[in-house]
């Protein structure tokens, strides 16, 4: 008995092995492998149509895998229905019983599970307190705001005592401010209840706010996964860099390889970049990325020399004022536009359009992507 407890404690909450899901000719998931530890707040992030929902629903048992396995707490559950799994789902919206009160909505799952009414309602009421719904017991869903309706869904799911909560774009139907507030609340709720949350979103800010770890899903592939911070600071894949954060994407060819770094020719400038364990060969086309807030702008000082490997020349295009920050757009000789983002009003003496300027950065700010 104690042995099995230890075994299940050790097993990850979710293990997805070589999972594929096809809808007729559409390959929504292709050979996905993923491990999610118990108690983690995990986010599936990616563009719409990438397969996030399909992955989440396959974990929850709403879809059968075409190929591969879903293990929950170490047990293969690929073919169990949703209610037989330790998972439960929160939908984007339109998922409450409109004819039931909040209390009835939250306690319905317990009643179905055979728990007697009084006990079920007590438990439901306690969970409603946890999600901040005390005092709303007798309301009907249409008398609640969008945010409150999502709280009801949370309570209805959490009250079941299953230990993996799946959330499919739970905040997508809310307005921007409310979404921010609810994001933080979700994070705190997860810390409070301590179970595994798997949250699907296409919004990177939302993902960064809540996630311990993030996986990027696009085109049916799991592109990259890692700690939220690492995904933002040091993405390995080109796709991740283009999707997360405001990155400048440059492409060029390797012109020199030496030890831990290499030199890449971008529009005639020789840029030095760390290899970060990636294999590159001379002449190979590669991509570089650099976050716009790490790019500094200065006027080109007459000498048109190639620079130190951490800067590039271009002509000033325009400034886009965004409130807190201002984006300075600079056109490189090859026509590619780069952005340097500064705190607004930090630069008083703006170049005029067409002025030659130099963009430069700290050596470790730029990243190499071979795939």
């Amino acid at each position: 008995m104690s042995e099995t407890t230890i075994a299940t404690d050790k097993a990850p909450a979710v293990e997805v092995k070589n999972l594929s899901k096809h809808y007729g000719p559409v390959k929504a998931l292709r050979n996905v492998d993923l491990t999610i530890a118990a108690g983690e707040y995990f986010v599936l992030l990616g563009p719409s149509g990438g397969g996030k929902t399909t992955l989440l629903r396959t974990i929850g048992g709403f879809h059968k895998p075409t190929e591969g396995q879903v293990l929950l707490h170490g047990r293969d559950m690929s073919h169990l229905p949703p209610d037989k799994r330790p998972t439960t789902m929160v939908f984007q919206a339109y998922a409450l019983f409109p004819h039931m009160t909040v209390l009835q909505n939250v306690s319905y799952g317990l009643k179905v599970a055979g728990i007697d009414r009084k006990q079920a309602e007590e438990k439901a009421a306690a969970m409603m307190d946890v999600v901040g719904l005390s005092g709303f017991a007798e309301r009907k869903p249409h008398e609640l705001s969008g945010g409150q309706q999502q709280r009801v869904q949370l309570a209805r799911a959490l009250v079941l005592d299953r230990d993996i909560l799946l959330l499919d774009e739970p905040l997508a139907a809310l307005d921007a401010q409310l979404r921010k507030d609810m994001c933080l609340e979700l994070k705190h709720l997860q810390e409070k209840v301590g179970i595994t949350f798997i949250h699907v979103t296409h919004n990177q800010e939302e993902a960064m706010t809540v996630a311990d770890r993030i996986a990027l899903v696009a085109d049916g592939n799991l592109v990259e996964h890692g700690k939220a911070r690492d995904i933002y600071r040091a993405p390995v894949k080109k796709f991740t860099a283009s999707f997360v954060g405001e990155n400048n994407m440059l492409s060029g060819r390797v012109s020199d390889v030496n030890g831990v770094s290499c030199t890449v020719d971008v529009a005639g400038s020789q840029l030095v970049v760390q290899k970060r364990g990636q294999q590159v060969a001379h002449g190979q086309p590669v991509d570089l990325s650099i976050r716009s807030e790490l790019v500094q702008l200065s006027r080109a000082n007459g000498s048109n020399n190639a620079g130190d490997g951490h800067s590039i020349l271009g002509s000033y295009d325009e400034a886009v004022y965004l409130g807190l920050t201002t984006s300075h757009l600079v056109r490189l000789p090859n026509g590619v536009e780069m952005t340097s983002r500064t705190i607004s009003d930090a630069v008083d003496d703006l170049p005029t359009p067409g002025d030659p300027v130099r963009l430069h950065w700290q050596p470790e700010a730029i990243r190499l992507h071979t795939s």
């Binding site: 709403f62 949703p82 799952g109 179905v112």
Partner: protein, 305 residues
Amino acid sequence: MASLTTNSPGGAARSAGETSAVWRERVGRWIFYLPLAFMVVFFAVPMALTVVFSFFERTMFWMEPAFTLFSYNNFFFSARLENFLTSMKYSALAVVICFIFGFPIAVFIRRSIPQVAQHRVILLFILPFMVSEIIRVFALRPVLQRNGLVNTTLMDWGLIDEPITSLLYTHTGVVIGEVLSFLPFIVFAGFLAMEAVPKFIFEVCDDLGVGHRRRFTDVILPLAAPGIFAGAVFIFVNGLGVALLPNILGGPGAVNAGLIATQAITALDFPLAMAVSAIMMATLMGLLYIGHRLFDLTKILTPLN
């Protein structure tokens, strides 16, 4: 509007434009009452007159003002009442049969047919209405009669030895006609009613482990109830009122309120026809009142966000 006129004391050129604005506003306000006027002229007044005429005295070819309960006596203390009650019973049966066949069709269309195709499938159910009702009902005779399609087929298959004669000129015939005529209405009503069912509700049911029976009784039925009730009342009232069906498919005793009224008119007993109509109206109103108390029928027109 008043302030508009007082604020423009002079200026002939300006007032021309303003007068038309004022007129537009005035007309706009009256247009608002137009539907009400329509309802009064074409529904309320005839209904009131029906009730008034039902108390009139019968004359040889028409009727004359009076206050007599003769027609009601004539209805309640004769075979007519029994026929009326029997036709209520069979109309109710038709409603139940329509529900059993029609509602699952509606649920199926909503759940299993891609959204873009749903309305086209619903349109299919409207097609039969393009054929005149008399012809549609009459066409049932060669199907149901003694040597009709049903009987010959069943006999060919060896399922029966003798033709079933109770399919036509009986209550059974009328019920068959009612079901075939009115089935589409319960499909429409059910289809509209299912609009009140939120998108992800069945997945929530999967997640909570709600079985098929509970899903039907706890979720689908309460949500669809107002629409279903409206469809059911419609069928029930038509079962009572449409004279055509028992006229063509019914026989001795298999008549409904509509046919009783028609027969009364043929017999030039107008007050009796009016009394039968008044009784039907009262039945309908009673049903709607019960329905409204049970389900709040106004909800039919307000699908949940």
